[in-house]
Subunit: 618 residues, 2 copies
Amino acid sequence: MNPGYIGEICAIDLTTKKVDSETLDKKTLRKYIGGSGLGIKYLIEMTGPDTDPLGEENCLIFMTGPLTGTKAFSSDRFQVTTKSPLTGIFGEANVGGTWGSNLKKSGYDGLIIKGKSEKPVYISINNKEVKLLDASDLWGLDTFETDKKLKELSQHRVEVACIGPAGEHLVKYANISTCGSHARVAGRTGCGTVMGSKNLKAIVVGGTFKTPVHDEAGLTDFIKKNTKGLLENDVTKFLNDYGTFGCVEVFETFGNLPVKNWKEIRFPTANQVSGDSLNEKKYLTKRYHCGRCVIGCGPTIEIKDGEYSTEGEIGGPEYESGALLGPNLCIDNLEVLCKLNELCNRYGMDTMSAGSVLGFVMECYERGIIDRTRLDGVDLVWGDGESAIQMLKKIGEGDGVGKLLGEGTRVLSEVFGENSEEFAPHVKGLEIPAHDPRAKMGSALAYATSNRGACHMAANTSGFESGGVIEGMGFDQSPDRFEVENKPEFVMKWENLMGMLDTIPACKFIMSCGISLPDIADTLNFVTGFNFSPDDFLKTGERIFNLKRMYNNKCGITRKDDWLPSRFLTWIKETGEDGHAYPPLGKMLGEYYNLRVWDEFGRPKKGKLQDLELVTYL
Amino acid sequence: MNPGYIGEICAIDLTTKKVDSETLDKKTLRKYIGGSGLGIKYLIEMTGPDTDPLGEENCLIFMTGPLTGTKAFSSDRFQVTTKSPLTGIFGEANVGGTWGSNLKKSGYDGLIIKGKSEKPVYISINNKEVKLLDASDLWGLDTFETDKKLKELSQHRVEVACIGPAGEHLVKYANISTCGSHARVAGRTGCGTVMGSKNLKAIVVGGTFKTPVHDEAGLTDFIKKNTKGLLENDVTKFLNDYGTFGCVEVFETFGNLPVKNWKEIRFPTANQVSGDSLNEKKYLTKRYHCGRCVIGCGPTIEIKDGEYSTEGEIGGPEYESGALLGPNLCIDNLEVLCKLNELCNRYGMDTMSAGSVLGFVMECYERGIIDRTRLDGVDLVWGDGESAIQMLKKIGEGDGVGKLLGEGTRVLSEVFGENSEEFAPHVKGLEIPAHDPRAKMGSALAYATSNRGACHMAANTSGFESGGVIEGMGFDQSPDRFEVENKPEFVMKWENLMGMLDTIPACKFIMSCGISLPDIADTLNFVTGFNFSPDDFLKTGERIFNLKRMYNNKCGITRKDDWLPSRFLTWIKETGEDGHAYPPLGKMLGEYYNLRVWDEFGRPKKGKLQDLELVTYL
């Protein structure tokens, strides 16, 4: 057998242009693994409450994990970790595509970017050769163009992670984009903003390094045994047939879809902006697969004619993007929706935050809290696609009021005042994903407790509150979505598990498609030789979750922040089987804290930190 | 039959020294009645969001009602209404004693004080003769002394409403005291602070005017018929035997008592600071009855010897005072508790807010959020009566850190920071009464929606969630304290009813002692000839409640303020029959808003205002 995972980290200081590297010891790797785990370890050691997220002292951490670059299921992923300029606390985003495996090919498991370049630069890494190159000619290009140009410039096969104009203009929810027009992005918490603040346009990676695997035969055997089951799983089939975008229509039926900034619950034309509509209109050209993925959930589309033409094949809308840029704005025109999605991707900004901001501003406009002069003359009314397009462009270009809208929902509600905080859809400054917390009690608790703010992926419980089960997790049956009693334990366990998927890393969808807890622990063992039991696996996830919480605690986060806007706690439109319930958040949170062994302010108690070997970070 | 209620209002401007009077028309009297109803009518017409509560533009409204001065049960009461310096919103307090009937004897149903005197003054009203007199010699005297001196000075029988040093020093929760050492006070929301800000030390009233009664025979007959039932009622007997102070021991048994700033639930020595302990130690000398009261719940005590001697007969602790100055501070020494109560009364400050402030500061001290140097060297530790006494004196005298503690819990938590807002026991700036909202779900909703901030008297549901019933209110059975479904309707109805008790006025305890809704409506009819049905009675209460809400809405109050501190929503110690539950406040609030016909921000909808004839106040 081979030695397995190495842990080679490259640190680049853009101020001093100094490049360092470090090989992590086995103990550290075993404790934090990779991705999200090493990300928070470096973040808490390098930054803190006084760090300005847009200052040169902030660091931007790109971290793959042991599985990246191997043939493990859906493992071509990486994690970006930083102090978020959108939220002021722990920030992270997980990305698929193929950039992660190419970073590995370049010879590194992770990159840590510090400092700030005087002029626009990009980083090129090929077989451990690190170059800082002038990016003046790239500055101002959108993400599709940047990717294309850098690939043309390179003599080797490379992958590009870059920012678009939104990142350059410091839109607070700018993303980092990979895979060109397919747009596999580090979408949330403004990782692209931090990159822009460092005058770093792109990171180009490639090379010929191989990823070591401890037990190659074991891994191969495991994959052979499980591929058929994965492929034949019903969720896999749905995702391959309709993409996540197919969920728009499904979720509308039981009140999980955001409609009109969460004011409404029904959207009768949901089917016009859902997965099947892409097939029906023949816009869907193929399914995009991230590296090593057998599911293939990504829509590739082409709209050949008309004013919303895509000019070639591009990535189409996912569920979150489609829901928040569509029904959330009362937009049911598929072509407009695809254009809004494309614009976000080209400018390089989070579709979810952008859609939420537009919905929030539309409601403020409707209520007369702001008028059109405040919006540079744009009538941002429900369902008006042209106005939405116009405003997205202003945001992406930092033009006029677009600069203010680029600050995110929390700042907008502070500026607008007049009770708007009650319907400003964010938790801890991060805009709420497209799953209504009144439709699933677990989602409510997960949004409140997720470390990066309102997040549907940290716990990723949504699919498991409506039918799905993960073998080995102690929940043999999927809990009813309105049930409350078991949700604290359920959410906590899923947070511990799902954080590990961002760490080893692997796509969380495989857990919805039949992979069990022992399976995923075994996968890690095949690659690393760590010999983790399922309990070891979850406990490592618990360690990582708590370390992120400790970072947030240092930044001032306490129980008061583990909350939802009033609209979601005190206001519902329809009850019953296809409706909503009031999330009893106080009750769930109280029990969750007990289970987490956190004190009353939401700080892990010392005994728990000793158990998790985290006391040194107090 | 006589013509009934007249509605003679006297307005005194302390700046210009001008005195005006107004006789209200029957339509206005029928619409707003008196007390709390006329109070809010004047307040919303004379002040608003821009009014500085301590500026001369604020007004201080003393309002009796039709029943005051008649022989109706427990009707010798009056209401003080003002814009609160403690909360910045609607403020009010209801008082028993005998001052109300003496204001009527002086010839007026109400007084409205505006402006600010240059020098300390007091007002004397005798048979409609209004005098502004120099109070330089009274300034600095405590409430007991002030009452005594002014009565000595007067040639006639008079009653005195005055402030003590706390009001002079603008302690934000200063009260207005009547009945001298018996201390029947306008305790909450800082009415005494407003009086102090106007340099008004006292209002002395007396005279020989008679209170008109529409149907004297009917009223007499009603009283004859109902006295026996009232006297033999179990609640009456309990109140007469033990006073409200007797509830300390009872409420401890099911988690309703505040212990250690609401951190603990059990207080094994509760019986040492409960009603019976006053009897056992022979401190209780008699029961004090407010005018026209057959219940007699007030303790009159005398401690003859030792360092906590009372130097004569004084009013003893009530439940709220006893609980918040006793178990809330872990104090179980009866003599100390009586002294703390006496000091609050002498300085003229709200025992409830004072006790809450001390409990909050003790917890901050225990947690290391503040140290002893911050407290002028006083070790404010749990259970230390001497330190509590020392600190109360500093507050009452505005000495050193006492000045800061006199700002109330909300300001303190803002100044202290470090998560202290999570356990700062207030709603909308008013400190939480001594009934744990985790012990009674109705209390939770009532605290959140009461117009003056956390208030146990606005809805006064507490006793009716544990056995009591009011005939005619549509709840034939007392709802279980943990039950949630019916609480929104229950609390709303009780708020509508109880606001009327502050308006006609009458003591709310009579509703706990067997008086029915038709009974109380009839009582009003006997006095006024208004011929209100029980529904008319409740609808008038609904009008008054909504008008107060409108005032608060103008001051910026919305749904977000209808809430409880995190400690009460997310943290419990013991569950079960003698324990706590998490109040599902969001659910109750959502349903309550629907029942109230309020919009999502907690503003009465226009249709509702039309129905209540309040649209002109929009």
